[in-house]
């Protein structure tokens, strides 16, 4: 039976119409995966000595333990945003003589072999080996390692459970911030407290059985929940909630673009697939906080460009790169309706442009890190408006992959994968390189001005660009119609 499932998975992967297109991206992801594994492996091996050197009076294992709370919470958040839960199109299997519990077990087991679960091991295993060679108690370390593996698996299944629930994500973020602050102000050492718990596991390894119980419990809950959802009405009932349509009539001012823009806003709010990119916006806006507080980046001004482009352009990138695939479900209708293609593209452009300006305004508090930062962000905004919007619209002509917005599959909560981050790279590398080069050769002001001027040139040529892009879309029309009909 399992081999049947595996064969189906294999065929699904290789026979999907997007396969040949995204093979490049898949290879890139593969390399990224290797890179991360390599990093984790190196850190895993070196961590003991690094910690020993930095904090000679503390025990490396205890130090690692005291950080585990952050690691686990961050892992959860990361998975929430990035991990694709194993989707198997089970509908056709339901009427076949396969026990439903078997299908569910397979889905769950498959999820526990995900890359996200294996990645952590590349740190924990070598770290444990090093600890053992350094004379730590063998049984204790094995118990500790087992606990780590069990926790990773538990996180995996926990993620499965919370996937429908954004308030859990908010809770986790709050926990992370809260934990940091109470530790920072020395009120209570929550991470340390949890770390003590892990120290205890090392002392009496039998405690790792607790985590085993937790894992089994989570698995059972998952199993029960999914087992109940393997029904058609369970898949459907979730959808038929009463809806309230917001009044978007204020958009009428936008004239003949209004109907499209209204639709796009509804598209973003009403589909699971697009809702997750709204979360990406929040992430993108705060992205600078990863870099600016860190003195290491203080002299690396090209980082400002990166953050500027990224934080003002998250919606541009997340939404833009799937134009026109967002509309793939009803592309035929659009193509036989009475409007100019340019008007359609213009409405997409307008949404992106408005979002870029709005995100810049929301990012003004970055001035806290110096006027230079805000200046570069401003230049980056202009660059986004003038260059990246057009680049991404042009990139859209290569979209050959249907997006199923009304995917009702209960297991497909997040369509966003790592792929979309990769496509963003060329949008950012170029301005960073130009800025970095001129900044190094001439100076900061000229470099900033260059980025802005490039943007202004793009804005000035907007009409010409749009005409050319529209032409490209029209020539690609039939290919897109054909491709969007294919189910992935």
């Amino acid at each position: 039976m399992i081999s049947h499932f595996l064969k189906l998975e294999w065929k699904q992967f290789f026979r999907s119409s997007s396969f040949s297109k995204s093979i490049g991206a898949k290879i890139l992801i593969g390399f990224l995966g290797l890179y991360f594994t390599g990093c984790f492996l190196l850190i895993g091996i070196g961590a003991y000595w690094i910690l020993k050197k930095q904090f000679p009076e503390q025990d490396p294992l205890a130090l690692v333990n005291s950080f585990l709370m952050y690691v686990i919470v961050a892992d959860l958040i990361f998975r929430y945003l990035m991990q694709k839960l194993p989707v198997m199109n089970i509908k056709p299997l339901l009427v076949l003589p396969i026990q439903k519990s078997k299908i569910v077990h397979f889905i769950l087991t498959k999820s526990s072999c995900s890359f996200f679960n294996i990645l952590g091991l590349f740190f924990y295993v070598p770290f444990s080996v090093v600890l053992i060679t350094q004379g730590y108690n063998l049984a204790g370390i094995l118990g500790w390692l087992a606990s780590m593996i069990l926790i990773i698996q538990s996180v995996n299944f926990f993620n499965f459970l919370v996937n429908k629930n954004t308030s859990v994500l908010v809770g986790l973020l709050l926990l992370l911030i809260f934990g940091y602050f109470i530790q920072y102000f020395n009120w209570f050492d929550l991470p340390g407290f949890i770390g003590n718990g892990f120290d205890a596991v090392y002392q009496s390894p039998i405690l790792c059985l607790l985590f085993l119980v937790m894992l089994i419990g989570l698995y059972m809950v998952n199993f029960k929940q999914l087992r109940n959802e393997v029904y058609l009405d369970a898949l459907i009932s979730e959808q038929t909630k009463e809806i309230n349509s917001a009044d978007l009539s204020f958009l009428e001012k936008l004239g003949d673009l209004a109907p499209f823009i209204k639709n796009d806003l509804r598209l973003i709010w009403r589909n699971k697939r697009t809702k997750s990119s709204v979360w990406m916006i929040a992430m993108g806006l705060l992205y600078g906080l990863f870099f600016y507080p860190n003195p290491m980046y203080a002299d690396m001004e090209f980082i400002y460009v990166f953050v500027g482009i990224f934080s003002t352009g998250t919606l541009l990138i997340n939404f833009g790169q799937f134009i026109p695939a967002w509309d793939s479900g009803y592309f035929n209708m659009l193509m036989s309706q009475n409007f100019k293609y340019e008007r359609y593209l213009k409405s997409k452009f307008t949404i992106m442009a408005i979002s870029v300006v709005a995100l810049f305004v929301l990012g003004i508090p970055y001035i806290y890190f110096g006027w230079k930062v805000l200046l570069v962000h401003f230049a980056a905004m202009i660059y986004n408006l003038g260059v990246n919007t057009h680049v991404i619209l042009l990139g859209g002509t290569f979209n050959r992959k249907r997006i199923n917005l009304d995917e009702k599959a209960a297991f497909n909560f997040q369509g966003t994968g790592a792929v979309q981050w990769i496509i963003g790279i060329p949008l950012m590398i170029l301005p960073m390189a130009i800025f970095g080069l001129i900044n190094w050769l001439i100076g900061f002001e000229i470099a900033t001005a260059t980025i802005a001027v490039m943007g202004f040139i793009g804005i000035a040529l907007h009409k010409k660009f749009m005409a050319a892009i529209t032409k490209k879309y029209i020539t690609n029309k039939y290919v897109m119609i054909h491709a969007f009909k294919q189910e992935n």
């Binding site: 598209l267 193509m335 036989s336 917005l405 009304d406 039939y478």
Partner: protein
């Protein structure tokens, strides 16, 4: 007038459609019948410029459909559910199509009042997305959207499929009034021979991409068709 000349469509070496000549005069109600794979939907898709012909062309009111887009102004169509925007409510969808067809909100409202019976109070004003409607109700929305904005040409692929008997009868009435009251050309395809013979003045039978029969509907037509398809 819709003129088809030397139209063919090939996928690789397989020819799925080949119509040497077909003229549909303005105001005619035209029916297309044929078994699966006969080329009905392919023909409609080419008429709507969603597929390119391998040779030949279709001219819709003097406009070659794959050269100019002007035909979109006066052509309404509904091929399948992929013409619907799943995340809109029916009312929002009608507003959207109305916008594209140059109707304001009041026009749309007025237009929709005549379809209260057709929708059977299951569609309008209900807070449901189109994707959550039943197949039949989705079809109703698509058909009504296709006749918004007074199109001169209406293309409906399999309009009777999935509809309940009452709605089928109402739809037949609707299609008849469209062609008698106005100068509207209606093109429908169907597997249901009795519906087509009731609605259409002229019926063309396609088989493996070729026109095999071109009948002006009379009392004997249904029998003729039934004996043709009974193999």
């Amino acid at each position: 007038m819709i003129e088809t000349t030397q139209l063919s469509k090939k996928y690789g070496k397989v020819e799925v459609l080949n119509i040497a000549s077909l003229e549909i005069p303005t105001g005619q109600s035209f029916g297309l019948v044929g078994n699966n794979g006969a080329g009905k939907t392919t023909y409609f898709n080419m008429l709507l410029d969603l597929i390119r012909p391998t040779t030949g062309s279709i001219t819709n009111h003097d406009i070659v459909v794959n050269q100019s887009e002007a035909w979109k102004n006066f052509t309404g169509s509904f091929i399948d559910e992929s013409f619907l925007i799943g995340y809109l409510t029916p009312d929002e969808y009608f507003d959207f199509i109305g916008d594209l067809r140059g109707m304001n909100k009041a026009d749309v409202k007025l237009f929709l009042t005549q379809f209260g019976e057709f929708f059977n109070e299951e569609v309008l004003g209900k807070k449901k997305y189109l994707r959550d409607l039943s197949k039949g109700n989705q079809k109703k929305v698509g058909i009504v959207a296709a006749i918004m904005g007074n199109p001169q040409v209406i293309v409906l692929d399999e309009p009777f499929a999935n509809l309940d008997p009452t709605t089928q009868i109402r739809l037949k009435k609707l299609l008849k009034t469209l062609t008698t009251d106005k100068d509207v050309t209606v093109l429908v395809s169907s597997h249901d021979l009795s519906h087509v013979t009731e609605v259409c003045e002229r019926i063309v039978v396609l088989d493996k991409g070729l026109v095999v029969k071109d009948i002006t509907t009379s009392r004997e037509t249904l029998k003729e068709l039934e004996s043709y398809f009974a193999v």
